[in-house]
């Protein structure tokens, strides 16, 4: 399945990768990472957050985890890495997502900090920096944002001027993760006024100074500072990539970054559920554990359902990226090129996962606080911190608004370029709307027949709304943000629901229906709710531009394409919650 193609194509369950299929090596990596986090991070979370008192904690922990090889796990062996495949990297991200501020430091270092050199560095630069980055000996940060250019990243004002053999940098960067201890700064600056370009600046270069640590809402353990450049002179060779091609670095690095952020927050969800259910089992009110209460069960179940769906979507894409990397390598690309191109191919899905994961985690931690009640509001307990730390994920690596627009925008772009044929299916939908359904029973012998039909239909609802919007606004659609948000929400929901159903279907094949019955309920419940949301978003979208009969016909169409037999979601959630309560953790 090509990038973005999920919107018009139904993938087969057998073709998706599911986390249940992770191999022994991957499971080993998982437990190694988890051990590290459980033993080194969680006992120290409060200390880590008191960054000003303990500024060395995170750098030291980075060194330590570097020793385990985890920082360089994804880097090619020739640069000191372990060259693990992309699915394994995903497992690592998932587990690191349980480590709060520390995870942010690791992600900034291994992702946006290291990848620009891996992808765009010269051979010399790679040899010089990657081995150190891989062990953690060198720590990296990424300086894109400025006080006046955040989402509008390309509007950066920092300047770079070539003066003989040196570049001279002047400007100010803001919100730079790891800035306090970084040895390398990947810096974006304008050459000749408007040629957006990347550079590598080493710590200690004269003229480079740091602002104070920002006082933040969350991830208080993560170093975040301004970075000032005042006539910072760096060798000519520290140019990264080509002059004027900095946007390629910035955006491509973000594709992988977003994917990994999605995986991390999904791991965070699992951790939060574990903490929440343990508390719910212990805490008694009215003479019984609060986990006995239906209202609490609903929360636990819904937290798990969203996590399960996000998990399914994450590994589905991890594997597609992984396959694409292999395919590109087989076709002669270097490992770095292959990874870059593969992530670019799935940039729509990467953006979706980032939004999906960060919003799932926000939901999960919010409910976790609620389950904790008053103690949830106390610094004595872990959920307050998780609640605060979650929030940043919707902001960095491109705000969720920017990512939503990007997902839809890319989809339209691919359609325009002929890479994604939205037109033919959109035309078919018009025809189908006028087709008389045989009022007979569906052939629902297959498990998931109804679900898959519903998913196929939901995609039609999206194409219907998107097609009509495109026809109405043509090139102007990119400025219709509300509609783009609606379309993005619809796409995210259908993609996620489909991922959950496919994963479950595959699992049934592997383990049988009985062993998968809760997963079946989770997938169905997610789908059932998702269809309601898709219906609503579709309604909002088309009502935003159509009127009269045209609107009415579209609404009938959207409603028809989001229909699903009512299911007993209360019973489903009870069954799911009971399992969570029994295992006292996230058990799926």
């Amino acid at each position: 399945m090509k990038g973005g193609e999920f919107i018009i194509k139904n993938q087969e369950a057998n073709d998706v990768f599911i986390p249940e299929e992770l191999n022994e090596e991957q499971v080993m990596f998982r437990s190694m990472t988890l051990d590290f986090i459980e033993s080194k991070i969680w006992p120290n979370v409060a200390k880590i957050d008191k960054q000003l008192e303990n500024p060395d904690m995170i750098p030291d922990l980075l060194n330590e985890i570097g020793q385990l090889g985890i920082l360089g796990a994804g880097l090619p062996e020739e640069y000191g890495g372990m060259g693990v495949n992309f699915n394994t990297e995903t497992v690592l991200s998932e587990e690191l997502g349980k480590s709060l501020s520390f995870g942010v430091a690791v992600a900034a270092h291994t992702g946006i900090g290291t990848l620009p050199i891996l992808y765009f560095g010269t051979e010399e630069q790679k040899e010089k920096y990657l081995p150190g980055l891989s062990t953690g000996e060198l720590k990296a940060s990424y300086c894109l944002t400025e006080p006046n250019s955040g989402s509008d990243a390309l509007a950066a004002k920092t300047k770079a001027v070539l003066d003989g053999d040196e570049w001279v940098l002047n400007g100010q960067k803001m919100w730079i993760t790891n800035a306090g201890f970084a040895d390398l700064y990947i810096v974006f600056a304008q050459v000749d006024g408007d040629k957006f370009t990347g550079f590598v600046v080493e710590r200690g270069t004269p003229g480079l100074t740091l602002g104070d640590e920002e006082v933040k809402l969350g991830i208080k353990g993560s170093s975040t500072r301004q970075v000032f450049f005042e006539n910072v002179r760096i060798p000519k060779d520290n140019l990264l990539g080509e002059i004027g091609k900095g946007h390629r670095i910035a955006f491509n690095v973000l594709n992988i970054g977003r994917f990994k952020l999605g995986a991390m927050v999904m791991g965070g969800c699992k951790k939060a559920i574990e903490i929440a259910v343990q508390y719910a089992n212990e805490r008694h009110q009215f003479g019984q554990p609060i986990s006995n209460f239906g209202a609490i069960k609903h929360k636990l179940a819904e937290m798990a359902i969203r996590t399960y769906a996000t998990d399914s979507a994450t590994y589905r894409i991890a594997d597609l990226i992984s396959d694409k990397i292999e395919e590109l390598k087989a076709a002669g690309a270097t490992k770095a090129e292959a990874k870059l191109k593969a992530a670019e191919e799935y940039n729509i899905e990467c953006a979706i996962l980032k939004v999906l994961g960060s919003e799932s985690l926000d939901y999960v931690v919010d409910e976790a606080v609620q389950i904790f009640g008053g103690t949830g509001y106390s610094e004595e307990y872990p959920v307050a911190r998780m609640y605060r730390d979650s929030r940043i994920n919707r902001i960095f690596e491109g705000t969720n608004e920017i990512n939503r627009m990007l997902a839809v925008g890319q989809m339209m772009k691919k359609a325009m370029k002929g890479e994604l044929d939205l037109m033919t299916p959109a035309m078919k939908i018009q025809e189908e709307l006028m087709a008389i359904p045989d009022f007979g029973e569906d052939d629902d012998a297959d498990l998931f027949f109804a679900e898959k039909k519903a998913i196929g239909n939901a995609k039609k609802a999206i194409l219907l709304a998107a097609g009509a919007a495109a026809q109405k606004f043509m090139m102007e659609l990119e400025n219709q943000q509300e509609i783009l948000m609606n379309l993005a929400d619809m796409a995210i929901d259908v993609f996620t629901a489909e991922s959950a159903i496919l994963r479950t279907e595959k699992m049934v094949g592997l383990k049988g229906e009985e062993a998968s019955k809760l997963q079946i309920l989770m997938a169905q419940t997610y789908l059932s709710d998702a269809l309601e949301r898709i219906h609503m978003a579709g309604k909002h979208a088309v009502a935003g531009f159509a009127e009269g009969d045209e609107l009415r016909m579209m609404l009938i169409g959207i409603r028809r394409f989001t229909k699903f037999d009512p299911m007993n979601t209360i019973a489903a959630r009870q069954a799911i919650a009971d399992q969570i309560i029994e295992s006292n953790k996230y058990p799926f």
């Binding site: 709307l433 008389i436 009269g548 009969d549 009938i556």
Partner: protein, 802 residues
């Protein structure tokens, strides 16, 4: 010599000399408008001994031709009895008839010698003052003056009708220097008002206006496509409706016209226009010569650029000629991004702009073609036409272009195009350059409903002739709308009259239009307007109710919503009659189903001659549910006098609905009972339709219009009628004329038309009938076969019999 003034001249009878395709078709059309027509042709060459005395035999040429014309499709006559106005004769025995007629129309073969002989003979009988026109597409008119009297010359003028003359709206009028101005005025006016044509004044130059420019365009296309290496399908894709040209685009048009005719016209120009700067383009390309050689002349030889044939499995396929290999290959459907994008808009002006911005082959092709056609047209003034609008009008009416070259040029920006021409080496006429230099940036402008053109002689804007008396809604677009929504606009068309224009897809009637009608009438009543015209300038008045909407609701089994929708439709239609202002409908072209029901209800309907109107609901598995069935019952009841048997007339009306009969002209609409002598009328020239409807509103207002009284005196027959109608349906079923489902629909219709299962004839109200009608309509929407019919119509445009 006396020449009577144009507005005093009366035409009662005409003589047509020559009964070829054009002559016989013209005879029908002159008869259509109520004239007595004499159609004369030569004696048959093969007259046998015994036949020489027999009139029938002597008139054989004319008789045969007329018969063939009457049988041709589409029909040249508005109604069948029109033919009775035509008397056939021959040019040996009956030339004396010419002394009785008001107008002699020559339509013999295109041969100057023969034409002159005919005129010579005609002059022997012609009375002074009688008009004489020659119908030709190629021969210089001036050459026909030789030997003619002064009176003849003053009353003589060239005309150029396009075949078939009933349907093709262009009439070129080509006076000679001797033609008296009053004669020219008369023809311009009469052709417009009575023959219903777009008359265009031409100069006597080869091929006149439309063919000169039209054939130039075709020749330019041939050259460009060779240059750009394009196939005929690709060219047709971009030179069709997307760029404002007819559906037949370039090559289907050539096939229709005939390749030989095309070659003749092109050769004519090449030989007779030595100073034409684009003369070289008129050189016939090899492939055309070869086609003529092969007798691949288009439709008349069953193959031209396209050919219908059957594939291996016997399926009908259309093949297209590959100009490289000269072989026919299955027709392809080329796709271009520019065309795809442009097609998304219903508005030609927008499409033209999109194409002008495109960069693919199709877009570049049309851009280049436009430059050539614009430049060529500009250089033809004053050579072939005195003013630019004449060229535009000729192209629109003669070649079916949606916009003439100067109008299209306006859309794309006059000076912008001039710049491109400069860059591409196209040479426009100096007057255009000068016009722009003087700060005039548009060939046309519109102000307060009137349209102005740039007069190249006075170098200033002047009112477009006819634009003041003919109401063209497009000219009102720049004015503020009185009211509007996505499906309808309410214009102030002056003198206290409103015009509600539909503009949905195919003018299908949905909630926007219904709202528009209610709104228009409300506004008129409340704000003191004199009345409302419901009319539009689209190709068709309305394809009927929005079936897609009904189908979707029916599939979802939303019967309550459907009931509400149909009820609203009925109420709206009733408003057309029951309001305190006169409402006049102006149907034209296709006016089907719901559109027809509206016409039935309006205070008056002013229909174009070319109106194809009828209650076609049966084809969609339904009965008329917007008051149409009710109105037929009312009309039956009203046409019935005490003591008369009412049943036969009810049966006739029942059959009209049950066979989904569509009138083939406004006149025939009276015969099938859709238009009504007491309140409705027909206008020949569609362009005058809205202004005539407006006149009608003013007339009704002047007469002191009051709202009609609601009816509760409609006589329905109940069981008596029901039994008879059911029996008839049964019989149709038995003899396989009607399918099961046809019979089911027919029984529902019968039930409504009988007024239900009443034990005896009863007087009922309109609402009673409307309720019956709605109930039947709704119940049919619950039938799968009805839904299948609707779906089929939506998909293919054709009814399904199931």
């Amino acid at each position: 010599m006396h020449v009577i003034e144009a507005d005093k001249r009366k035409i009662r009878s005409v003589a047509i000399l020559g009964s070829g395709v054009m002559g016989s078709q013209l005879a029908c059309h002159y008869a259509n408008i109520g004239l007595k027509v004499f159609l004369l042709d030569i004696l048959p060459f093969d007259l046998k001994e015994g036949e020489k005395e027999k009139i029938q035999a002597r008139n054989r040429v004319g008789n045969t031709a007329l018969k063939a014309a009457l049988k041709s499709n589409p029909s040249p006559v508005y109604t069948k009895d029109v033919a009775r106005r035509i008397t056939v004769g021959n040019m040996e025995d009956n030339m004396s008839w010419l002394s009785k007629v008001d107008w002699i129309i020559e339509a013999v073969v295109e041969n100057l010698g023969i034409k002159n002989e005919v005129f010579e003979k005609a002059e022997l009988h012609r009375k002074p003052g009688t008009l004489v026109t020659s119908n030709t597409s190629g021969i210089p008119i001036t050459m026909m003056l030789n030997g003619r009297s002064d009176d003849f010359q003053a009353h003589f003028c060239g005309t150029h009708f396009f075949n078939p003359p009933r349907y093709l709206p262009l009439l070129e009028i080509i006076p000679t220097e001797k033609t008296h101005p009053e004669v020219v005025n008369f023809l311009m006016h009469y052709g417009d008002l009575f023959l219903g044509k777009q008359t265009v004044l031409c100069k006597d130059t080869p091929a006149f206006i439309a063919n000169r420019i039209g054939v130039f365009s075709i020749m330019a296309i041939f050259h460009l496509m060779a240059e750009m290496d394009m196939t005929i399908e690709e060219v047709d894709a971009v030179t069709g409706p997307v760029s404002g040209r007819p559906k037949s685009a370039t090559f289907r048009t050539c096939d229709l016209v005939g390749i030989d005719t095309l070659v003749k016209v092109a050769n004519g120009v090449a030989q007779n226009c030595p100073n034409d700067e684009a003369r070289e383009l008129f050189t016939i390309p090899d492939f055309l010569d070869k086609m003529v050689e092969n007798k691949w002349l288009g439709d008349k030889t069953r193959q031209g650029f396209y050919k219908k044939s059957r594939d291996a499995s016997g399926k009908r396929v259309i093949e297209a000629l590959d100009l490289q290999t000269f072989e026919y290959k299955p027709k392809t459907k080329p796709r271009f991004e520019s065309i795809g994008t442009a097609r998304q808009s219903d508005v030609l002006k927008k499409r033209l702009k999109i194409l002008a911005k495109g960069s693919d082959k199709a877009a570049r092709f049309i851009q280049a073609l436009n430059l050539k056609v614009f430049a060529y047209a500009s250089n033809r003034i004053p050579e072939i036409a005195g003013q630019l609008y004449q060229i535009d009008e000729a192209m629109k009416a003669g070649f079916g272009w949606e916009l003439g070259p100067f109008e299209a040029w306006d859309v794309l920006g006059v000076s912008r195009i001039l710049e491109t021409m400069e860059a591409k080496g196209e040479k426009p006429a100096d007057w255009v350059v000068e016009m722009v230099e003087n700060g005039v940036e548009q060939f046309y402008k519109t102000e307060n409903g009137a349209r102005y053109y740039y007069n190249i002689t006075t170098k200033s804007y002047e009112v477009l002739p006819g634009s003041e008396e003919n109401i063209v809604l497009d000219n009102y677009r720049s004015n503020k709308l009185v009211w509007g929504n996505k499906g309808a606009s309410l214009h102030d068309i002056g003198d206290g009259v409103l015009c509600l224009e539909f503009h949905t897809k195919m003018n299908a009637i949905g909630s926007e239009i219904l709202l528009g009608i209610n709104k228009a009438i409300d506004v008129a009543e409340q704000d003191g307007w004199k009345g409302v015209v419901i009319g539009n300038d689209a190709a068709n008045f309305s394809a009927g109710a929005n079936l897609a909407m009904m189908l979707m609701l029916a599939i979802e089994q939303e019967y309550d919503e459907l009931n509400i929708a149909i009820n609203y439709f009925q109420k709206t239609v009733m408003r057309l009659r029951y309001s305190s202002v006169p409402v006049v409908m102006a149907p034209h072209g296709m006016t089907l189903g719901g559109g027809c029901e509206m016409s039935l209800h309006a205070d008056s309907t002013v229909a174009a001659a070319e109106t194809y109107i009828g209650l076609v609901e049966f084809g969609a598995g339904l009965i008329p549910g917007g008051g149409g069935t009710k109105e037929f019952v009312v009309r039956t009841s009203d046409g019935f006098y005490e003591g008369d048997p009412q049943l036969p007339s009810l049966q006739e009306r029942f059959t009209t609905i049950a066979t989904a009969k569509v009138a083939t002209s406004g006149f025939e609409a009276f015969e099938i009972g859709v238009l009504h002598e007491d309140k409705d009328e027909v206008v020949l020239n569609k362009k005058r339709l809205i202004s005539s409807a407006k006149e009608k509103v003013l007339e009704l207002d002047q007469e002191g219009y009051v709202m009609p009284v609601k009816r509760d005196d409609i006589l329905v027959l109940g069981r008596t009628a029901l039994g008879t109608l059911y029996a008839g349906i049964e019989a149709f079923g038995v003899s396989n004329f009607a399918t099961e489902h046809d019979q089911k629909i027919a029984r529902k219709l019968a039930f409504v038309m009988a007024g239900g299962d009443l034990s005896q004839p009863t007087r009922v109200s309109e609402q009673y009938l409307l309720d019956l009608e709605r109930e039947a309509f709704l119940s049919l929407l619950g039938e799968r076969k009805t839904l299948e019919r609707i779906q089929h119509i939506l998909k293919t445009g054709k009814p399904l019999r199931n």
